[in-house]
């Protein structure tokens, strides 16, 4: 009996086969390679975002609707996959995730043990941003395909190292900036690439300001369930504080990098895609703005970063708060594309509330003459590419270049001076200190 028939025959019956953790390759025909019909996933980091990627055991072998926010359109059914292995440095989160998955997922506190697990086909990395690069690189070393949440990494060097690792091992790596998989982004891209607004000269991004923070929560000993030393990992050491760990690490430049590296990775991912700059970068970065005047956070509260690109020639501005277009008065973030013959906006980029102007929607119903790849959904696209070994829509080089925009913006913001950038050699021009900031040595045993 072929493997697919076996799965179909036992689906929904509660047969032991579906709930045992059977390695994908063991279900192949004797003497033949066994491409996995059910992808065995490992999850590293199962907090807020990571939990959204979990595939409950009860759903294995059943038709499962795609989660909201991962793009795609219509009635979407996820490719068959199971959450076989879970890892988190927080024991409570690990327990919660294991309960959500059901069955008997393998649980690990050390992500290296999960990566050593030969039954895991691919991993989803949703740990805090400062871990993304190294865990992706190590996952490639261990032979896993990777879905890594955005932003790809925290420094130019580590993002480039991710590309090198993915290329060295031929791994399929999707960066979780799912804007490109949103239907509205595709409609807008199709409209623009079909020439409907003429050549795009400027892109203006808008995003609400970042939190300011305070001193109300003192540093303390970490909770027992948290392996805090590993949580800090390769980043420079800071004492534990509940207000800059789970979730709120985002407002520290060394960890989350602020809104520009968070939502910027979504918004500017769509922009890079539309403008075909996935393999290049800006030639100058001019950042202004203010961090919090007080409190424990240091990422930009207000910011304006102006990027200039050459070949193609255009400019992009990241603005906190920026100007909300009148067509979308309630959209708290997004980007407007200004062409010679008009403009359109794409709101959000990270969820199914992503929208674009009606003219782009109507145009795309009639014509896909922009010849833009239409993603089935961000996870589905990744899983399809695992089988075909093609590069997914938000492949590692694209993820690196988008994260680089965010990182360059923060470097300019920190140094408070205009920077010139060589996108080919990926170095600053005539700025010795800025070039030192291209990399950040890792702490303890954690090194690129």
């Amino acid at each position: 009996m072929k493997r697919r028939e076996l799965i179909k025959a036992t689906a929904g019956t509660g047969a032991a086969l579906m709930f045992d953790i059977v390695p994908a390759r063991a279900l192949g025909l004797q003497g033949q390679p066994a491409p996995s019909d059910i992808l065995n996933l490992g999850h590293i980091g199962i907090g807020g975002r990571g939990a959204n990627h979990l595939r409950p055991d009860a759903d294995v072998g059943r038709m499962v609707k795609a989660p909201l926010g991962q793009g795609g359109g219509g009635v979407r059914i996820m490719r068959p996959a199971r959450s076989m292995a879970l890892c988190d440095v927080d024991a409570k989160r690990l327990d919660t995730a294991a309960t959500k998955v059901g069955g008997k997922p393998r649980t690990y506190r050390d992500f290296r043990r999960l990566l050593e697990d030969k039954d895991v086909d691919a991993v989803i990395i949703a740990s805090p941003d400062h871990w993304h690069a190294l865990q992706t690189i190590m996952a490639c070393q261990a032979g896993k395909d990777v879905y890594v949440e955005k932003p790809a990494g925290n420094t130019i060097e580590e993002c480039r190292a991710m590309v090198t690792a993915a290329d060295r091992y031929g791994r399929v790596v999707q960066v979780g900036a799912q804007g490109r998989s949103q239907v509205a982004a595709w409609q807008a891209a199709n409209y623009i690439k079909a020439g409907q607004i003429g050549a795009v000269r400027k892109i203006t991004c808008w995003h609400y300001a970042s939190p300011i923070g305070d001193w109300k929560t003192p540093d303390s000993a970490p909770p027992e369930e948290l392996d805090y030393d590993t949580w800090v990992g390769p980043a420079p050491w800071i004492p534990y504080n509940a207000r800059h760990t789970h979730g709120s690490f985002r407002w520290l430049i060394d960890f989350g990098g602020g809104q520009i590296r968070d939502r910027g990775a979504h918004i500017m991912s769509i922009a890079s895609w539309i403008m075909d700059v996935d393999t290049t970068g800006p030639v100058s970065i001019d950042a202004k703005g203010e961090p919090p005047h007080d409190g424990m956070y240091d990422s930009g509260v207000t910011m304006e970063v102006a990027y200039e690109f050459k070949n193609p020639d255009f400019s992009m501005v990241w603005a906190q708060p920026g100007e909300i277009p009148p067509e979308f008065p309630k959209a708290t973030y997004g980007a407007t594309y200004w062409g010679d013959n008009g403009h359109i906006s794409i709101t959000y980029g990270d969820g199914n509330s992503t929208a674009t102007n009606q003219e782009a929607v109507e145009f795309s119903k009639q014509c896909d003459c922009g010849k833009v790849f239409r993603s089935p959904g961000h996870n589905e696209n990744w899983e399809d590419c695992i089988r075909t070994r093609e590069k997914p829509i938000m492949h590692m080089e694209a993820g690196h270049r988008v994260a680089s925009l965010c990182i360059l913006g923060n470097v300019g913001f920190q140094l408070q001076r205009k920077l010139e950038w060589d996108p080919v050699n990926e170095r600053f021009i005539n700025d010795e200190e800025a070039n030192r900031l291209l990399s950040r040595p890792g702490r303890g045993p954690w090194h690129l």
Partner: protein, 299 residues
């Protein structure tokens, strides 16, 4: 400077906005204020301590663009003093981190001297990894002899991160250490440096290694091979790729195929050929893609 007094008043203000405005203009005041900022950075009020740290950061950035900036030497001197034993550890850490941005090569011995302070060893190594020139590498090599075994892997990692060719002999020697952590760290650094040694190294025996050490070691050898290929030493690279082509690990086979395709020699092509019919679909597809890319390069 007349502004210094006003600056020192403002940076200690009870008003956060006044402190912020002061730290933003810290690049315009004299480096002579650094000791005072150091005292404030170590004081109890978190808002005032932050303002002092940010002022030191602004001063650092103000002299960071050009190594020949007029005040740069004075700021470096001030930070070196602040990083000395007279300051509380958090202040020393901040000063060392700022030194990593702007300290010149000749500051390396002074910085390296603090590597024996356990609370600062990591920060000092961080700084030596970032400082330009050969002196920080020499300091790291000297420090290696004197640090405890448990810190030797960290020094080796720093040499690897710096791609320090001066560290190759140390790596080759350290690979023979009976301390498995040191031996594997040495292979990792060797792989990252990517320079061919005078004599073929003796890699640690994988018997008795943890699984992750085995993965790390093989990855390091592939990195070494890739570096050799980039340098035009195709024979050296191909020898490594060939050694993993029959590995049961599909991704090592893929890495070998990809590396061979980049080497692009007739020998490499001959080694890839059988993989076009591999039983493993990932290897097979990788080999097909590699074959296509070789054909395109040749065309």
């Amino acid at each position: 400077m007349a502004d210094d007094q006003q600056f020192l008043t403002d940076i200690q203000s009870d008003n956060a906005d006044v402190r912020f405005a002061a730290w933003r203009r810290a690049g315009e005041v004299s480096p002579a204020v650094i000791p005072q900022l150091g005292k404030q950075a170590g004081a109890g009020d978190p808002g005032k301590a932050k303002a002092a740290r940010e002022a030191l950061t602004t001063m650092t950035h103000s002299v960071g663009k050009d190594p020949a900036s007029p005040n740069r030497a004075a700021v470096v001197k001030g930070l070196l003093e602040l990083a000395g034993p007279g300051s509380p550890n958090p202040v020393r850490v901040h000063a060392i981190r700022m030194l990593s941005n702007i300290a010149p090569e000749d500051a390396a011995p002074a910085v390296a001297a603090w590597i024996q302070t356990p609370e600062l060893a990591e920060e000092v190594t961080f700084c030596l990894e970032r400082m330009p020139g050969n002196a920080p590498i020499k300091s790291l090599l000297a420090a290696y002899k004197n640090v405890k075994d448990e810190f030797k892997p960290r020094i080796l990692a720093a040499l690897g991160h710096r791609r320090a060719k001066e560290g190759v002999s140390l790596c080759v020697e350290a690979m023979r250490s009976p301390n498995r952590d040191i031996a594997v760290a040495a292979v990792k650094a060797f792989g990252r440096i990517g320079v061919k040694p005078a004599a073929a190294p003796k890699y640690p025996d994988t018997k008795g290694m943890t699984e992750w050490q085995r993965i790390d070691q093989q990855d390091s050898l592939l990195r070494y091979a890739d570096a050799q290929a980039r340098e035009g030493n195709a024979a050296e690279a191909i020898a490594v790729y060939k050694s993993v082509l029959s590995s049961p690990e599909e991704h090592w086979q893929c890495a070998a195929v990809i590396g061979l395709a980049k080497a692009g020699t007739a020998e490499a092509a001959a080694l890839i050929l059988p993989k076009l019919k591999s039983d493993d679909p990932k290897v097979r597809i990788t080999a097909q893609n590699a074959w296509k890319s070789m054909a395109q390069t040749k065309a």
